[in-house]
């Protein structure tokens, strides 16, 4: 009897101890805030994170001399996270600007990523800078004008549905209207670029382009290049050129691009997103449209973005790692650096979903 009672007590204790142990061993601890002011920053890496997996964004930095990447520099400098779904960054004047789409926020930092101020902006998608202003495209169909002297919004203009990237040329701002949320209706109300006169901040003209345009850059000669992403199935993703007279011509099939002077670098990614990913890297002269193939000496697994450092012409390709079901969307990505002629130089680790590399003097 006593023996059984002892057994009973032992059972009770064993169960209670087991519960206490696995309950007590964890708590919500973030690592303490280290100091990061004295950092050499040659480039910023925007990691979008993954809102579906509840992974917040982060901003990392590259040090070319030490050949190192440091992630979470924004957090190290400010003790807070740069929101969810960091979408786009620019450096302008003495500030670094970044927008987070799901967080509806614009962060204004100094070049060491010390947060100066943050502003609520509605569904921010992309940015472009000109004449002392930062322009932000809002996914609800607007472009917002921010005066960088006062850090206040000084104007808003309505454009097409779900605008994405912008580019400035010849006193005009070009913004692509994707109508991306209307995909069940085949992006019917997009397929256009709104041309905004920067002196009046009004839409002068709407230019018809391909299906679902999302990217835009300007070359040194005042040409605009956009990518119409198509419908991700039958209609391919295509680069289109808009010249100073607003004539639109197809350039090549590609899914991402970057420009340096009059050279446009592009990648065409063909993938089913789980078993194969085929990439074509090429460049195009923006005036002659002469194409050079196989420009990179090494391959990345699943390119996310392409950028050029204007200070040295180096090409940066960010990428997801490739896992069993295609890209690892919830795991740390990486970026690869190539010199201006496409020779592989260096690989850096990044955060989750590195969507953009931003350079301090790209304005």
């Amino acid at each position: 009897m006593l023996m059984k009672f002892k057994n009973f007590i032992f059972n009770v204790l064993a169960v209670s101890v087991a519960i206490t142990v696995f309950v007590a061993c964890d708590d919500d601890n973030e690592s303490p805030r280290p100091e990061g002011d004295k950092m050499q920053i040659d480039a910023y890496v925007l990691n979008q994170g993954n809102t579906y997996s509840s992974i917040a964004s982060s901003i990392g930095c590259l040090d070319y001399t030490a050949k190192t990447a440091t992630d979470s520099v924004f957090y190290l400098q400010n003790g807070v996270l740069p929101g969810n779904t960091l979408q786009y960054g620019v450096v302008y004047g003495s500030y670094f600007y970044a927008i987070a789409f799901d967080s509806n926020v614009l962060f204004v930092c100094d070049k060491n990523l010390k947060l100066q101020t943050s502003l609520n902006v509605s569904n921010p998608r992309a940015m472009v800078t000109d004449g002392g202003y930062v322009y932000i495209s809002n996914y609800d169909g607007h472009v917002t004008k921010l005066d960088t002297a006062t850090m206040s919004v000084v104007g808003t203009v309505e454009v097409g549905p779900n605008p994405e990237e912008m580019a400035v040329a010849n006193g005009y701002l070009y913004v692509v209207n994707s109508d991306g949320m209307n995909y069940t209706n085949n992006y019917a109300n997009g397929k256009s670029v709104s041309k905004i006169n920067l002196s009046t901040f009004t839409v002068d003209k709407t230019i018809a382009v391909g299906l679902n345009p999302t990217k835009a850059v300007a070359d040194a000669s005042g040409n605009i290049f956009i990518i119409a992403m198509g419908d991700y199935t039958a209609i391919p993703s295509t680069i289109q050129k808009i010249d100073a007279n607003d004539n639109v011509t197809d350039v090549a099939e590609a899914t991402m691009m970057a420009v340096n002077g009059n050279q446009l670098y592009a990648v065409k990614v063909e993938t089913d997103f789980y078993s194969k990913c085929q990439k074509t890297y090429f460049s195009v002269n923006t005036t002659t449209l002469e194409r050079t193939d196989n420009i990179l000496s090494a391959d990345v697994e699943f390119p996310i973005s392409l950028s050029i450092d204007p200070s040295n012409g180096h090409i940066f390709v960010t990428s997801h790692t490739w896992g069993q079901n295609g890209p690892n969307y919830s795991a740390a990505g990486y970026l690869m650096e190539f010199d201006a002629t496409g020779n592989y130089l260096q690989k850096y680790t990044a955060g989750v979903n590195p969507v953009q590399v931003v350079f301090p003097d790209n304005h």
Binding site: F5, S16, S103, Q324
Partner: protein, 665 residues
């Protein structure tokens, strides 16, 4: 008649093999078993069942400190509850690492369906109307079960009940109030219309403001916030007719209406509390069960159901065309099932079941405008009881065909599946059992997986599961004062193959493929003890601890290989302690789990810490005279006000009280 019902009660309580007792009257649920004074404690089905089983009846609900449906599910070893928090937050159940799509839910013996998502959201059930919850792992080999009830890896059975059925007229009025603006009302009316015919009607309404506080941790900063856009408005009405046609036949007919309008706060997003999603669900079903004893050896059970479901989802945001995004879905189901059971001898029982199911779905969504599926299921079940050994086997043949208008229809399937279980009472005088089972089964691709815009893949195969389990159970009366000790230890090994996985194409579009293998290994240990310290004074201790390794086994060398699947804790467990006495009964409970990852890759920043959630309640029945009673219950959930998440970004409510009063007359 009355005599036989008393006999039935006695047989339940005294632990006569339940199989003997299930004559035709088993369609009528008997409750308040503990109020019957008998000498011996019944041998629980938890102990005798050849497959792991967990039954929670109304008495247990108080003893285990179950305040919400989710508490009940959390008290079942091997269950993992995906809980998005609060009264309106979605709650789905996976058992032994197999995923919510592998868990069937049955209500009064009839399987509930959602062909769109394949998962049943438990937040829609009202605990007040539930008299018994039962978790069946694999199959319980019940010979009067429909073929469809054997179609899943595990089943959660919910049962509603007739109340105090000796009284010809009975009424109940419940009011409930709790933290975060919670108000609930339930009215129950039950009338014995004739000696053989009883009617019951139940109406329920629940409003929860639900803007509960939580702590948002942003880096080194912690800030108190509230959930916004989280209101719940739900009402339901049930009508039940129970007709005891004669001693050998009974017909139950039920009707159910449910209407729930709720807002969704969404995932917690840094710097942006705005969310404007809302959903409106409506459901109607009617079902009938006819039980007939054809001869001393032959039993027949026929079930039928017709169901209509509407889901209207809306997100209001200027980024959408016309400022809002709507998704509306309508589902219908027709169901007919017949079972015959032949009690061949004292040791052999055979049964055959055939079910026909028709499901269709239409929606306002592109590409899945009108799809339907017909299923024909047949099962053969055998129960052999030979001395101290019980052996059960079931063979199931399923055949499904799919149709779709204007798009490629999902593949048709024919499958054979089998399950077996055995139980051996090791020592004649002891209730010590060894049990083992095997089951292979599959789950169908859902209509969303097959047809949804860009996501749908009509070429998907079913996701296959294989389960093996072995266990040891014991029940003893240790002493006159130590009335019950129940122990069970169960180990299992499960496999999932052809796992259906969604792969994102971009922010809005996904596709599904059959890729992936999962292996689940685990062990559940449960214990229950009841001490009678004096007449009318009982202490009841329940506890369980589970260990589970649920790992991806798709491809070596990948980031997820051999890693614990997202959200699956390595350890889960609970302890509850109740003290029943003539003055005021009390119960205390702790539920917890170890840390988890919100991603399969175990990415940094996606680790979720473990937690322990404590709760306590006090309750008693007060006699108001004139045969009127009041059940009063006061409870506190999350006593320590622990800030935690089951799903990352969806904080759970903090400390909350609940007061409920039920007047019975």
């Amino acid at each position: 008649m009355k005599h036989s019902s008393l006999l039935l009660l006695y047989m339940f309580v005294a632990g006569v093999v339940p199989a003997v007792a299930d004559n035709v009257i088993d369609t009528i649920r008997v409750r308040r078993l503990d109020s019957v004074k008998v000498g011996a404690t019944r041998i629980s089905e938890h102990i005798t069942s050849a497959t792991p089983l967990r039954i929670i009846d109304e008495t247990d609900m108080s003893r285990l400190n179950i305040v919400d449906m989710t508490d009940g599910l959390n008290r079942m070893a091997g269950v993992f509850l995906r809980d998005y928090g609060g009264a309106g937050g979605m709650k789905t159940v996976s058992v032994r690492g197999l995923g919510a799509n592998h868990t069937a839910v049955s209500l009064d013996g009839i399987i509930q369906t959602d062909v769109q998502t394949g998962q049943i959201d438990f937040s829609r059930y009202n605990l007040m109307s539930i008299s018994q919850m039962k978790l069946i792992v694999a199959d319980d080999f019940d010979g009067l079960q429909s073929a469809r009830a054997a179609c899943s890896s595990s089943t959660v059975e919910l049962q509603t009940a007739l109340k105090s059925w000796t009284k010809p007229s009975y009424k109940e009025f419940t009011i409930e109030h709790g933290s975060f603006d919670r108000y609930g009302v339930q009215l129950l009316w039950q009338q014995q219309m004739t000696k053989k015919w009883t009617l019951q009607a139940v109406g329920h309404y629940l409003y929860v403001g639900n803007n509960y506080p939580y702590i948002l941790t942003n880096g080194v900063e912690k800030e108190k916030k509230h959930r916004h856009n989280n209101r719940v408005n739900t009402y339901s009405a049930d009508i039940v007719s129970l007709w005891r046609i004669n001693d050998n036949a009974a017909l139950d007919v039920k009707g159910h209406w449910y209407d729930s309008y709720f807002r969704m706060p969404g995932q917690v997003i840094y710097y942006n509390p705005y969310n404007n999603e809302r959903q409106h669900n409506r459901q109607f079903w009617t079902n009938a069960t006819w039980s007939q004893r054809l001869s001393p050896k032959w039993m027949l059970k026929v079930r039928g159901k017709w169901e209509w479901n509407e889901l209207r989802y809306k997100d209001v945001d200027a980024i959408y065309p016309n400022g809002e995004w709507t998704e509306n879905y309508w589902q219908r189901e027709g169901y007919l099932s017949g079972v015959v059971r032949y009690d061949a001898s004292r040791w052999l029982r055979l049964s055959y079941a055939a079910d026909y199911i028709h499901n269709d779905l239409n929606s306002n969504q592109y590409l899945n405008s009108n799809v339907d599926r017909n299923g024909l299921l047949q099962s053969l079940t055998m129960n052999v009881k030979w001395g101290r050994v019980t052996v059960n086997g079931r063979w199931l043949y399923s055949s499904y065909d799919n149709h779709a208008e204007g798009v490629e229809s999902s593949r048709d399937f024919d499958r054979h599946n089998a399950s077996v279980s055995m139980s051996w009472r090791i020592i004649p005088k002891e209730h010590l059992y060894l049990r083992a089972f095997y089951k292979n089964i599959f789950r169908l691709p859902t209509f969303t997986e097959s047809y949804y815009y860009h996501l749908g893949n009509a070429d998907l195969s079913p996701e296959r599961s294989t389960q093996y389990g072995v266990g040891l159970t014991l029940q003893r009366e240790m002493a006159l004062w130590w009335r019950v000790l129940r122990l069970s230890v169960d180990a299992y090994f499960n496999k999932i193959e052809d796992k259906i996985t969604s792969i994102p194409l971009n922010l809005h579009q996904w596709r599904t493929v059959n890729i992936g293998k999962v292996r689940a290994q685990g062990c559940d240990v449960s214990m229950e003890s009841r001490w009678q310290i004096n007449t009318g004074h009982n202490i009841i201790l329940n506890s369980s601890v589970s260990w589970q390794a649920i790992t991806d086994r798709t491809q070596k060398g990948t980031l997820t290989y051999k890693r614990q699947l997202a959200y699956m804790p390595t350890f889960t467990g609970f302890v509850s302690l109740a003290y029943e006495n003539p003055i005021v009964n009390m119960a205390f409970s702790v539920t917890g789990c170890s840390s988890r990852w919100s991603t399969h890759e175990h990415s940094p920043s996606t680790r979720l810490p473990g937690y322990a959630e404590m709760g306590a309640s006090l309750w008693r029945t007060i006699s108001m005279g004139n045969n009127i009673f009041a059940d009063v219950k006061v409870s506190i959930q999350n006593l320590a006000n622990k800030n935690y998440c089951v799903i990352k970004g969806y904080p759970m409510p903090g400390r909350a009280y609940r007061i409920g009063v039920t007047m019975k007359f």
